[in-house]
């Protein structure tokens, strides 16, 4: 039997990872939950999952020496995904947990969605990728969030400067394209980060694992473009 590539789901101390595991299975990958920094830094594919609060998740990552591991794999151009809170953790900080530093891989701040509509935003909404996006497609996806990255951050969207283990080279090496969604106000609902002709980074404010066929297909394309998985 041919071994399936491993997909490491980063341990952030949340209980409900069954949906992300199921996504891995649908993609024909072997899911494994791990908090081992060596493994996280080097595994072929890593997902930072997305349930819980910003502060506790960052404490868990920092306590397990995973901040450096995540930064290292992203800067090495290894395929890395962040889902919901997992996307938010890539930024510098969040209104949800003031004073707690995020992974700080991307510039920008997470804020409470500025709307009078019910929060959390719970349900299906549309993502609208920018024209130059090469991985993201227009469609309906499932959200469960009260926080997000305001679309005002779009203009400055970039690799954060002068972080641990990064150099100014990263800024020029990565190219980012994004999708926005409107819930009262527009926010960044997904980001694809390209380096060396591969979209090594994919961040989704929505839940691809709960977005029906659309979510599975998005991740299947992502893996193919990263040469992890080929169409059977």
């Amino acid at each position: 039997m041919i071994e399936r590539p491993k997909l490491i789901i980063v341990e952030t101390g949340v209980a409900n990872l069954a949906s992300v595991r199921a996504l891995a299975e649908r993609l024909d990958l072997e899911p494994e939950v791990s908090g081992d920094p060596e493994l996280v830094a080097r595994a072929p594919v890593v997902i930072l999952p997305g349930v819980g609060a910003f502060g506790p998740a960052m404490e868990k990552l920092a306590g397990a020496k995973l901040v450096r591991a995540m930064r290292a794999r992203v800067s090495a151009g290894l395929p890395t995904a962040g889902i919901c809170l997992g996307m938010q953790l890539f930024f510098e900080e969040s209104e949800e947990s003031p004073g707690i530093r995020g992974l700080g891989i991307l510039k920008g701040k997470v804020t409470r969605l500025p709307t009078a509509l019910p929060l959390p935003q719970l349900g299906w909404n549309r993502i609208e990728p920018e024209k130059s996006a090469r991985l993201l497609e227009r469609g309906w996806v499932y959200f469960a969030n009260s926080y997000g990255v305001d679309a005002a951050n779009l203009a400055a969207l970039n690799y954060a400067e002068a972080g641990e283990g990064t150099t100014s080279q990263h800024q020029s090496r990565f190219e980012f394209f994004s999708a926005t969604t409107t819930y009262g106000a527009p926010f960044i609902s997904a980001i694809e980060g390209w380096s060396e002709n591969k979209p090594s980074l994919i961040l989704c404010q929505f839940h691809p694992e709960l977005s029906g066929r659309f979510g599975t297909e998005l991740f299947a394309r992502w893996l193919e473009l990263n040469s992890i998985r080929r169409e059977a």
Partner: protein, 255 residues
Amino acid sequence: MSGLAVRIIPCLDFKDGRVVKGIKFENLIDSGDPLERALVYEEQSADELTFLDISATVEGRKTMAAEVARIRKRLSIPITVGGGIGSVGDAARLLESGADRVSVNSAAVRNPSIVDQIAGQFGVQCAVVAIDAAKNDTMPSGYEVKIAAGAVATGLDAVAWAREAASRGAGEILLTSIDRDGTNLGYERELTRRVARAVGIPVVASGGASKLEHFLEGYQSGASALLAAGIFHRGEVSIIEIKKYLASHNVEVRL
């Protein structure tokens, strides 16, 4: 406009791991297998599924968790599980099995701090509070909360309880009208309106929907999601029909 689609949610009642309400699909042999039914609803563009466990035994509940795990592996839309959740441990077990949200009903009335605990531990989006309400003119809002599957009146005002649940961290209210449940008369609009206005979180309307118009009424009353059971199981109204009808009235749906 929010941009968010109104959700259509089929609800499946489980007892000891089996679906118990009469179900008859066209072109589908009734195998009694909840997985098969769940997949049919997903294919018909259901926006999520709600499972209600009416098992009365510990064994039955274990079977339920195993069924959730089995369905989760194949289903790629959200699952909410409710019925008999009495502790954070019960909630954790179901979330680990593959539920995306858990709904607490009687236990939250008896011990409201369970709402804070579930929201605190798993996030507000995981914490659904199910409220079964019945008309009672002596209540400030005109509706009283009942528990134990409607058998026990609590003396709690339905709107006040919904507000408290939201302030404790509930991410959604699943609101069932006991008076309308099973009547085919449509959602209890006044109840839905009052609760939706009182809380800043999504409200799922439940109980009584049998016609396309009822779903539009539920939406117009302020519900973010519309739940039904029997009419889907018996094949009387299809989810796609409902969505097309709502779209024709300029309601955002995922089609």
